[in-house]
Amino acid sequence: MLNAKNIPISAWIGLIITAIFIFAAVFAPWVAPYPIGETVGDVWEPMSAKYLLGTDNLGRDLLSRMIFGARITIFIAAMATALSFILGSVLGFAAAVIGGWFDQLMSRFVDLIMAIPTLIFALVVLSVLPANIVTLILVMGLLDATRVYRLARAVAVDINVMDFVEAAKLRGEGRIWIIFREILPNALTPLIAELGLRFIFAVLFLSALSFLGLGVQPPDADWGGMVKENKEGIVFGIPAALIPAAAIAVLAISVNLVADWILNRTTSLKGGRG
């Protein structure tokens, strides 16, 4: 079904870069030249053969920290995105199909949550709850689910009035079939487009939280936290803070290149056979 020749160049670039990131994240302990928390050299050493990206504000190897950081960043962002999509789309579809008071209740509740600025809401919640990875994923996932809910509901409301859904209802199909077999396949295209975007927002959100000190706690570090640790160096012309920032940007672009390509494939109504 998949023919390598049919994959456009942009998708190849995205796939390769994303694969490198994921590889580094999964095999971090074997790939990284030094352990994550160990001070190996001087503070802010320049790039050299020994320290490929130089060292950070405490003299730790920046490349090693980047690799371990990728692990934490991608893991938390991916889990939070997955949570928000599963929760948001299922509830959104359900609201569209069931309608009535369920729809009203869910939609007004989501409106309420969305009325509060996300970052401030997260800061308040995280300052109360113990700061660990599970709480981070839950808080980010639940907050993002409101956006996914809105999109999923809007898309599903349109599909729900199509004749084929009515035909399924006349056949006597249950809601589970209607949501997962009739609506979901037809709502996949906008959802996947949103998925790429949401994942990147999750990375940025996590970085913002870590930058403010409420995200991943030391000695672990994600890319946002590393920007924070090294931000003073910018004044002295030391690029240590820019490298994790650049990594965030590259990841954002490559993931969206892949998402665009998947989007094109799911848009085809002929099962991608051409």
Binding site: F164, K169, L170
Partner: protein, 553 residues
């Protein structure tokens, strides 16, 4: 404007020679390729004459019509031939010539007036726009001319009609306003692109008559594009029959409809003559609709008023009426989608629950529905096998090989091969899609199938095939049909009994032979007399003899 010197001496207005039109398509996963849409078509049109372009969808009729304005819709390219209008080749003149002729020498009347008018601008401003743009006359003159045209086209309150916005007038009126717009700049040629296809049958006849009058009075020439031979026979002097972009037959109207020389033309002419023996009611009906009153919006808008009809096993009840007469609502009430306010539905001797949610699975299985738009009635993400196989799984618990075998059987029944099971709806033609929907309904082994305008979105020949298939299946499976339609020709060919609906009420009901037997009530008379017949001069006769004005006015 220097228009007069360009006119040639003789009466030849439009001369299309060996026209060839191509387009590039981009099939996914393949290299782009050129396809020929119109191939070697030559057409001549004299001043004041009307040429009918007729063919099925995809025959290239609109493309040819638009080429007379030098326009290729959606990226099609005119790659060969000449289009001589008033003696000069408009394909060679470039943008300047095109700008001169469009809206001045050639005007266009689109199929969907509702989509073609700008909803934010008053009708008058849109009607006179072309005349002002070409500086044919002053604004006051143009408005006076427009009012005169409104009057001629039979629009209500011609003096103030132009002050309305497009959404404030009916579909038939809008179509006539568009004709007024085309006539306003007094062009030499008007291209009518299916101007009455989207209208109700009783409105169609009014629009048709006013278009015909306007053409006669203004001595404008016209290209009349349609798929309905009976319609074009009323207005055209000559007819060209097209198929797949190639001319099939070209002759005067009398010859085409009375003595067609080509087999394809003959098929088009003889469409709708399906022999069907009327069955008489047998004992107890399978479905009785008793005194149903239904409304939308919590009782505010009553759409059905005290409707009672019976359907017998293995027979067809046709429900006829215009849009808004409540015929589709009747289907929604019977299926349980819209619980009625009063009345009951008795199916096989048991009273059906008014709400869909409370019906048993057998009730649902024995009462199937086929929709007008086969496109939206099938999930585009499911293969034909899944679409037909799901009722088998759902009602009979069939799985695996057993199910696949039954799907193959059903595909055989609808005259489609086995290879179709793996296809997606997007890979089927319009007629095939409707066949798959029929197979899906049959898979449930129903006693009654509700057919909601199942043929109205299809080309005549394809629709013919579907009707024949439905009749054959009725014989084999002994299934009853509730056939909702606005097309009386269809009704005549397939029904056993008929219910005529008007504004939510059944105005005439009985066996086909009784319903179609005079004397008629006023509405049935209007409905029957509005169906175009393939006779010359039918339109004039019909306008004279009918008893009531159409509902569109």
């Amino acid at each position: 404007m220097a228009k007069a010197p360009l006119k040639s001496k003789d009466d030849l207005l439009l001369d299309i020679r060996n026209l060839r039109i191509e387009a590039t398509i981009y099939p996914p996963g393949e290299l782009p390729k050129n396809i020929t849409i119109v191939d070697d078509v030559s057409v001549k049109l004299e001043r004041g004459k009307v040429l009918g372009l007729i063919g099925e969808s995809g025959a290239g009729k609109s493309t040819i019509g638009l080429s007379s304005m030098g326009y290729g819709r959606g990226g099609v390219r005119i790659t060969g031939g000449e289009v001589l209008l008033n003696g000069r080749d408009i394909l060679k003149g470039g943008a300047k010539v095109l700008r001169q002729i469009r809206g001045r020498e050639v005007c266009y009347v689109a199929q969907s007036a509702a989509a073609a008018f700008n909803p934010a601008i008053k009708l008058m401003d849109q009607v006179i726009e072309a005349a002002l743009l070409h500086k044919i006359c002053t604004k006051a003159e143009a408005e006076k001319r427009a009012v005169g045209l409104f009057k001629k086209l039979g629009l209500p309150n011609p003096e103030t009609f132009g002050q309305r916005f497009p959404h404030q007038v009916s579909g038939g009126q809008l179509q006539r306003a568009m004709t007024a717009m085309a006539l306003c700049s007094e062009p030499d040629l008007i291209v009518f692109d299916e101007p009455t296809t989207a209208l109700d049958v009783t409105t169609q006849i009014d629009v048709l008559a006013s278009i015909k009058d306007a053409i006669r009075d203004t001595n404008v020439a016209a290209l009349y594009i349609t798929h309905d031979l009976a319609v074009v026979a009323q207005v055209a002097d000559d007819i060209i029959v097209l198929r797949n972009g190639k001319p099939v037959e070209y002759g005067d109207t009398r010859q085409i409809i009375k003595e067609p020389r080509q087999q394809y033309t003959n098929q088009l002419v003889s469409v709708h003559h399906i022999p069907h023996e009327q069955n008489n009611p047998t004992g107890t009906p399978i479905l009785s609709v008793r005194n149903i009153t239904a409304a939308y919006g919590g009782g505010l808008v009553k759409v059905l008023k005290n409707v009672s009809v019976d359907i017998h096993l293995g027979q067809t009840l046709a429900v006829v009426g215009e849009s808004g007469s409540g015929k589709s609502t009747l289907a929604r009430v019977i299926t349980g989608l819209l619980p009625p306010m009063e009345g009951s539905i008795i199916f096989e001797g048991r009273t059906l629950s008014p709400r869909l949610a409370n019906r048993t699975r057998d009730d649902l299985r024995e009462l199937q529905m086929i929709y007008q738009m086969a496109d939206t009635a099938m999930n585009p993400r499911q293969t034909v096998g899944t679409i037909i196989g799901r009722p088998l799984e759902f009602y009979f618990g069939m799985r695996g090989k057993e199910r696949d075998r039954r799907v193959a059987e059903l595909l055989e029944k609808i005259e489609m091969g086995k290879g179709f099971a793996d296809r997606y709806p997007a890979e089927l033609s319009g007629g095939q899609k409707q066949r798959v929907c029929i197979a899906r309904a049959l898979a449930a082994k129903p006693k009654l199938i509700i057919c909601d305008e199942v043929t109205s979105a299809l080309d005549p020949l394809v629709a013919d095939g579907i009707l024949k298939l439905l009749l054959n299946l009725q014989k084999d499976e002994n299934v009853a049909y509730l056939f909702i339609t606005h097309d009386l020709a269809t009704v005549k060919s397939i029904s056993d009994s008929i219910a005529v609906m008007y504004r939510g009420e059944v105005v005439r009901y009985g066996p086909k032979s009784d319903v179609l037997q005079p004397p008629f009530d006023d509405y049935t008379d209007l409905l029957l007399s509005s169906v175009p017949e393939m006779e010359l001069g039918w339109l004039e006769a019909a306008m004279k003899t009918r008893k009531m004005a159409s509902a569109g006015n």
